[in-house]
């Protein structure tokens, strides 16, 4: 956290603010989607510099990969340009100024960036850094806290993803009423896909296996380096999106049929949940992995491994089924 890094961050923060203003100003929704991709790219960079590698990886994967694809999927089915302008501008600005005043008023007493004896650094954080090698013995403390110390949060997070999955399936499951307003020609990843783009198909076919391999690496290497179930899931989903783009949505459907995706989306959270229940059956509290094996530390390793797998399966299943719902919506 040298002085140069501080300048580095301030420069990037300024770029972010400019991008944010541009996003709100631009009328073309596609441009807004692309700019929000850039926005999350820069925030990933900043998180990386603020010593939050896991978050940077997640933000990069989600920001550039999934949210861009989601926005494009939605824009393909709805209008691309913003027709209406703004309404109630004065009221919104008034509220905005009030809240900003409150926030700035509060910032003056906040601890400085990187101040070692800020309260946040003193109470719970050092305990985690100190006790992780002893109890869980996993190099990546963030994964340890995420999976074991606050495993209950991550269980909730997995179910949030699961809810989003069944939500999109529920909303876009029903065939559109009457004549679909979306003309079939507007398919997002139509039957043809980028078929007649020869070069991207060749490169794509070459790369997809590596991407999947890398995803598995991120999944099971989460204990040692930034990574984990969620990031791996996103990368797998991104590779399937690439496959669908290149080979066309139908082939992607045959590769991973809808029922399999629904099964994955459902079994992921069950894997996570039943690991917790298994801990209860073996005498520990819910999600207390130390009872899973004779030696508590091994138990923690098994526990973390299994629940990360659960998260990975859930995220993969959910994201791909979401993508298929959006893509199929256009094709019908």
């Amino acid at each position: 956290m040298t002085v140069f890094t501080v300048f580095f961050i301030i420069f990037l923060l300024t770029l972010m603010v400019i991008t944010a203003l541009a996003i709100v100003q631009t009328k073309n929704l596609f441009a807004a989607a692309m700019l929000s991709g850039i926005f999350s790219l820069m925030s990933a960079m900043i998180f990386f510099l603020l010593d939050a590698a896991d978050v940077a990886l997640t933000e990069a994967a989600v920001g550039a990969g999934i949210s861009t694809v989601l926005f494009l999927g939605a824009l393909a089915l709805t209008a691309e340009n913003e027709r209406a302008g703004t309404a109630g501008r004065a009221a919104a600005l008034a509220v905005v100024t009030v809240i900003t005043a409150v926030l700035v008023y509060a910032t003056f007493d906040m601890p400085r960036l990187g101040d070692p004896n800020a309260p946040a650094q003193l109470h719970v954080a050092p305990w985690y850094l100190e006790k992780t090698p002893e109890y869980i013995d996993v190099p990546n403390v963030v994964t340890a806290v995420l999976a074991s110390f606050r495993g209950y949060d991550t269980l909730g997070e997995t179910f949030v993803v699961f809810t989003a999955g069944i939500g999109v399936l529920f909303l876009l499951g029903k065939a559109p009423v009457g004549q679909p307003k979306v003309s079939p020609a507007m398919t997002f990843a139509g039957k043809t896909g980028l078929r007649h783009y020869q070069i991207p198909r060749v490169v794509g076919r070459l790369l997809i296996p590596f991407i999947l391999l890398f995803a598995l690496y991120v999944q099971f290497h989460g204990d040692y380096s930034p990574g984990g179930g969620f990031q791996a899931g996103v990368i797998v989903a991104a590779s399937v999106v690439l496959y669908a783009l290149l080979e066309g949505e139908e082939q992607a459907r045959q590769a991973l049929p809808a029922w399999l995706l629904r099964l994955m989306a459902a079994t992921g959270p069950l894997i996570y949940g039943f690991t917790g229940v298994a801990c209860m059956l073996l005498g520990g509290n819910f999600l207390d992995y130390s009872v899973l094996a004779h030696d508590p530390v091994h138990g923690q390793h098994y526990g973390i491994l299994v629940i990360e797998a659960g998260v990975g399966v859930t995220v993969t299943g959910v994201l791909i089924s979401i993508f298929h719902s959006f893509a199929a919506r256009g094709a019908k």
């Binding site: 003193l122 719970v124 209950y152 269980l155 179910f159 459902a266 959270p269 509290n285 999600l287």
Partner: protein, 498 residues
């Protein structure tokens, strides 16, 4: 005496949570509903046994993952928690049992497993919020329940359900993010996320400004989620266009859980530590509550659509709860808390009656209800009794909370008189908007086209509606349980005040 490793506390959340993926995988017709009802019944049984435990004096504390309090996430069940759990699981069970036929109409078979899965997630989310004693964990489960509620509401038959859900999604997310900012600011100043731990460490903080800002953000965020008066814009449309069974479930408990979080946060963490915060809290919330009662009831009186009328009445009733809470006295707080229970009963029964009406009458405008009493006598009788409970006629649950609220207000001296006046005007307005419906149903002659003869709602729906109505009367005459729980809760929340 707190029983550490008593698994019931965490099972309360885990059972509905893990039942959701199962329900989603159940293909055959009707099985999804059956599994959901079974899981909901189990959750209700757990809630009842937890309440029994709490009544016999012990308070459950459960460290999830085996890690002690400030480091791991802790689950805590005390009097206030068990009251809320009863309301949440009870409402879900009743709505599910009653709603089978009406939901079959709204949702096609292929998507029913998804719908019931979302229902179980909403139940699990709400239960998760209520039992959790960790600030960030509350946020996670708040999101689980909110996302699931968006799905449930978007399942409404009418196309207007979609914009209503979108508005709810946007405002709900802003509320949750405000709450997240508040928790972030507190974490920045105290270094912990556990509520009890936070309560001890807040007054050690040298500079109070961020903590005050955090209090502001949390109160506004939760007020937005709980549809407290000025921030209630999403509630009327969301409840009106959601399927009937969903309205029964959400109207009874969704906003109440957010009020619960507001109470737990403000009374435990902020009021003890920030000097004079309790006055800020009551001076900020009481006028809003009074306005809520007057304006929302006023709008309800003018409203033509039956469900929107009851939705606005919910906003007014939330005003009563906040009024009771902002009186800052033991009786006031217990009045507010018990009204959470009583309003869930009254409003649940009313919306169940609306569900019965919905089965045979197209459109729920007052004009369509003309002569409904001749065709559906039992349903309208249930509606009248539930309406009386909403008004607060003695012998019904609503009266008990009105009684406690007025006696708490009277103890406040001169200010109390104004509060009592508003409460009574509110009840009289309730008389008007309930009686408008009764007169339409009983005395106006049905339009020409409507079919003759008597055909009641499906038996299961009617039986559950009448069970809810009799529950209203029972807790009106023998409110021992809720009163005991609410007084214990009020005592525990007010430990810090002199």
């Amino acid at each position: 005496m707190s029983v550490e490793a008593y698994h019931l506390a965490v099972l309360q959340v885990v059972v509905p949570l893990l039942s959701a993926p199962f329900v989603v995988l159940l293909r055959p017709r009707g099985l999804a509903w059956a599994a959901a009802s079974a899981a909901s019944a189990m959750a209700f049984a757990i809630a009842v046994s937890l309440t029994a435990g709490v009544l016999s004096g012990d308070e459950y504390r459960y460290a999830v993952g085996g890690w002690a309090a400030p480091y791991g996430i802790e689950i805590r069940v005390d009097a206030l928690t068990s009251l809320l759990l009863l309301v949440v699981t009870g409402a879900s069970l009743v709505a599910l049992l009653a709603g089978r036929r009406s939901l079959d109409v709204d949702i096609d078979d292929a998507r029913q497993p998804l719908f019931y899965g979302a229902w179980m997630l909403a139940l699990a989310g709400l239960a998760g919020i209520v039992v959790s004693a960790d600030a960030f964990n509350i946020f996670v489960f708040m999101e689980v329940s909110s996302l699931a509620s968006y799905i449930l509401i978007a399942a409404g038959p009418n196309r207007r359900a979609l914009p209503a859900t979108f508005k709810y999604l946007v405002m709900g997310t802003i509320g949750a993010t405000f709450y997240l900012i508040g928790v972030g600011l507190i974490y920045m100043m105290t270094g912990t996320l556990n509520l009890a731990d936070m309560a001890q460490r807040v007054h050690e903080v040298a500079d109070q400004r961020p903590v005050l800002a955090a209090a502001g953000f949390i109160i506004v965020g939760l007020a937005l989620k709980a549809a407290v008066f000025p921030l209630h814009a999403w509630l009327p449309n969301a409840y009106t266009y959601a399927p009937h069974a969903v309205t029964v479930f959400l109207a009874a408990c969704a906003t109440k859980v957010q009020i619960y979080v507001l109470l737990r946060f403000d009374f435990l963490v902020f009021q003890g530590n920030l000097p004079g915060h309790e006055f800020q809290f009551s001076h900020f919330l009481m006028p809003l509550a009074l306005l809520a009662i007057l304006l929302a009831s006023g709008v309800a009186m003018m409203e033509r659509n039956l469900k929107r009328l009851l939705a606005y009445s919910s906003v007014a009733q939330i005003g009563y709860i906040m009024l009771g809470v902002s009186l800052l006295s033991a009786t006031g707080l217990s009045a507010g808390i018990i009204h959470i229970f009583n309003h869930a009963l009254a409003k649940g029964a009313l919306f169940l009656a609306v569900a019965c009406l919905g089965m045979h009458i197209q459109g729920l405008r007052l004009g369509d209800l003309a002569g409904a009493a001749k065709r559906m006598p039992w349903t309208m009788a249930a509606f009248v009794i539930a309406g009386l409970s909403l008004i607060g006629i003695p012998g019904t649950a609503g009266f008990v909370s009105k009684w406690l609220l007025i006696s708490a207000a009277l103890a406040e001296g001169s200010l109390g008189i104004a509060v009592v006046a508003v409460v009574l005007i509110g009840s009289l307005m309730a008389v008007v908007y309930v009686w408008r419906v009764v007169e339409a149903a009983y005395f106006q002659s049905p339009q020409a086209g409507s079919p003759e003869g008597r055909h009641e709602a499906p038996p299961m729906l009617l039986v559950v509606t009448w069970a809810a109505v009799l529950g209203n009367v029972y807790f009106g005459l023998a409110p021992g349980l809720p009163i005991k729980l609410s007084q214990a809760a009020a005592a525990s929340l007010l430990q810090h005040l002199p």
